[in-house]
Symmetry: C3
Subunit: 259 residues, 3 copies
C-alpha cells in the first residue's frame, strides 16, 4: 500500500542496500546511504540538507548513514550528517538534525525532535514528542517519555552551549526537564514534571522542582510488586536479553557500555 | 484549491461514501470506509497500516471507519482499526493509532497524538498537542488543553499498562499530567501544570503537584463572573445544546452518558 | 535537491516575486504573495484556507503575504490572512493560523503552533514546539523555548478570550506557561516550568508555580560570568546589532520599539 513507486526522489549519488523499500513521496538526498532491508516510508526525507544549502552555491551535502533493517515511519526528516545504527526505528514526523549519532536498535517516537550533534547509545527509546537539544548525550537502554526535554543553554540566549548527559538504564518521566549541562547518573528514575537542576548520582529516584533525590531507587518498594528497579530483570521486550534474561545476558559478557 | 485529484492513492478495497472529497497527495488504504460528505484533506493517510505490515507478508489491514461529515485536516494519520464517529474533525498532523474509538462530533487538535486502543466519548475537544496513552478512556464533553498528557505505565518500562479515565464534562489544563490508572471524576477542573497522582472525585477543582482538591468547583467564584462551573450553561458553541441551552436540552432527555 | 518542480500547486492568483524557489509537493494557494528571493521548501502550504472554505461555496481566501528572503522549511502550513515580514524563517511542520502578523527576521521553530490573530514583533525567536494561543501579543527580540505556552481562556471553555502579552527582550524558559491575559514586562527571564499567573514588571527574574519575582534580573550574578542580563551586550547572532554591538546600535538610534 505504501510502496507504489509514486513521486519518489532518489538522488543519483544516494546508495540503497539490498531489498530497501522507499515509500511514495519520499526523498533520498545526496550522500544518503541506506542499509539492507531498510524501510523508508512515505513522505520521509533522508539526508535533509543543512541551512547552508539554501544560500551557498558550493554547498555539498554531508553523508548520511541509515543502518540495515531500519524502519523510518512517514513524514520523518533525517538530516544529512547523521548516522543511525542497525535496527533503528522511528515514529511519524520525527526530526533528527545534522551530525547526530545513534547506536543500535534505538527507537525515536512520533514528533520527537533531536536538535543535532546529539549522541545516543544503543537500545534507547524516546517516546513521542521528546526534545533533545544540541550536544546532549544519552547512554544505552535509556527511555525518555513524552514532552521530556534536555536543554543546553544556561543563560539564554547565549553561545555557551552545554548539553547534558543521561547515564545508561535511566528512565525520564513525562514533562521532565534536564537543565543545561546536568549529568544524570545511570539507573536513575526521574519523576513526571521534575526539573533536574544539578547532578544526580547513579540509582537516584528523583522528583520535583528542583528535583531532589527521594531515595536510592533500589530501595523503592511497590505494594504487591516488590522492588521494581533496576528494571532490567522484569522488562525484556526488544532488549538484547529478550528470551534469556538480563542476568544470563550479563553473565555472557555481552554488555556493551558506552563509557 | 486542495482537491485537484493530484497524486492520490485510494486502495481498491477502500469504500468512499457520497460526496467525499479527497485532497491531493492523500492515501486511503485497504479497508478504509469513509462516510458521506466527509472531507479528507491533502497529505492525509486513512487506514495507516500497523507495525506488522512491514514484516508480515500475510498482513491484512483491519477496517477503518470515518463517519459522515468528518473533516480530517492535512498531514493527519489515522491508523487502521479506528472508528471515528459522525462529524469528527481534526487539526493538522494529528496521529490516531489503531483500535481507537471516538464518538460523535469530537475534534482533535493539531499535533495531538492518540496512542491507540483509546476510547473517547462524544463532543470532546482535544486542543493542540495533547498526548493520550494506550488504553486511556475519556467520557463525553471533555476538553483537554495543549501539552496535557494521559500516561499509562506506573513503573516504566513495564508491560503493566494502566490507562486512566477522565469523566464527562471535565476540563484538563495546559501541561497537566494524569498519572497511570488515575480516575478523574466528572465535572472536574484541573489547573495548568498539575500532576494528578490519585483519584479525583466529581466536581473537583484540583491544582498543583501532587494535584490537590482546592474546592468543589461549584463553589468557585470569579469576581464579576459569578460561578463559572459547571460550564455547560454558559458555553454552547458546537455542543448539542447550542441554541436551546443546556437545561432545556437536559429536560428534553437527550443527554447521553457513557457509563 | 529540493527544487525539482515536481508535484507543485500554484494557484493562478498567487504572486511570486523574483527568484522565488518552490519545493516539490508544495501548495501556494489563492491570494498568496511571496516576496523576492524567498524559499518555500517541499510539502509546504502557503495561504492554507480557513475553516469556512470546506463548507462555504462562496468562500474567498484572504491574502497572505510572505516577505522577501523568507525561508519556510518543509511541511509547514501558513494560513491565509497572515503577513510574515522580511527574512522570516521557520523550522519544519510549523503551523501559523490566520490573521497572524509577524515582523522582520523572526524565526519560528519546528512544530511550533501559532493559533491565529497573534502579533509578533521583530527579531523574535520561537524555538521548537512553542504554542501561542489566539490574540496573544509578543514584542521585539523575545525568545520562547520549547514547550512554552501562551494561553488565552481564563475559564475554559469560554468565549471570553484574553491573549497575554510578552514585552520586548524577554526570555521564556522551557515548559513555562503564561496564563490568560497576563502581561509579562520587558527584559524578563522566566525560569523553566514556571506558571506565570499574574503581571510581571520589567526586569523580573521569575520562577516557580505560581511564578514569583526572585530578583531584578540586572542583579543576577553568575559565578565567573558576571551579570548576564540584560543579554543584548553579550549576544548578537542574527540581531540587528551584529558586528557593531548593542550599545552602538542603540546610540545610532536604530532601535525600533513596538509600543
Amino acid at each position: 500500500m505504501k510502496f507504489n513507486g509514486r513521486n519518489i526522489f532518489v538522488h543519483p549519488r544516494a546508495k540503497l542496500g539490498r531489498n530497501v523499500k522507499i515509500g511514495d513521496n519520499a526523498a533520498i538526498y545526496d550522500g544518503a546511504e541506506i542499509g539492507d532491508d531498510a524501510i523508508i516510508c512515505n513522505d520521509v526525507a533522508i539526508g535533509e540538507p543543512l541551512a547552508a544549502y539554501y544560500r551557498d552555491p558550493n554547498y555539498e551535502n554531508p553523508p548520511t548513514v541509515i543502518g540495515p533493517n531500519a524502519l523510518v515511519r512517514s513524514h520523518s526528516i533525517i538530516y544529512a550528517g547523521c548516522t543511525l545504527g542497525p535496527g533503528f526505528s522511528s515514529g511519524h514526523r520525527v526530526t533528527i538534525r545534522e551530525n547526530t549519532i545513534i547506536g543500535e536498535r534505538c527507537s525515536i517516537g512520533t514528533l520527537s525532535d533531536i536538535q543535532g550533534s546529539v549522541t545516543i547509545g544503543n537500545y534507547c527509546r524516546l517516546h513521542s514528542n521528546v526534545h533533545v537539544s544540541q550536544t546532549s548525550s544519552i547512554g544505552d537502554f535509556v527511555f525518555l517519555y513524552p514532552f521530556s526535554v534536555m536543554t543546553n543553554d544556561p543563560y539564554p540566549p547565549s553561545e555557551d552551549i552545554q548539553g547534558g548527559r543521561i547515564g545508561s538504564y535511566t528512565q525520564v518521566g513525562v514533562h521532565a526537564v534536564i537543565l543545561p549541562g546536568v549529568q544524570v547518573g545511570e539507573n536513575c528514575l526521574i519523576g513526571a514534571n521534575s526539573v533536574v537542576r544539578k547532578r544526580l548520582p547513579d540509582f537516584s529516584l528523583a522528583s520535583g522542582d528542583p528535583a531532589k533525590v527521594v531515595m536510592d531507587v533500589r530501595n523503592y518498594v511497590v505494594m504487591g510488586k516488590g522492588k521494581p528497579y533496576p528494571w532490567m530483570s522484569r522488562f525484556e521486550r526488544g532488549m538484547p536479553w529478550e528470551g534469556i534474561g538480563y542476568e544470563t545476558w550479563i553473565a555472557q559478557g555481552q554488555l556493551k557500555r558506552d563509557e
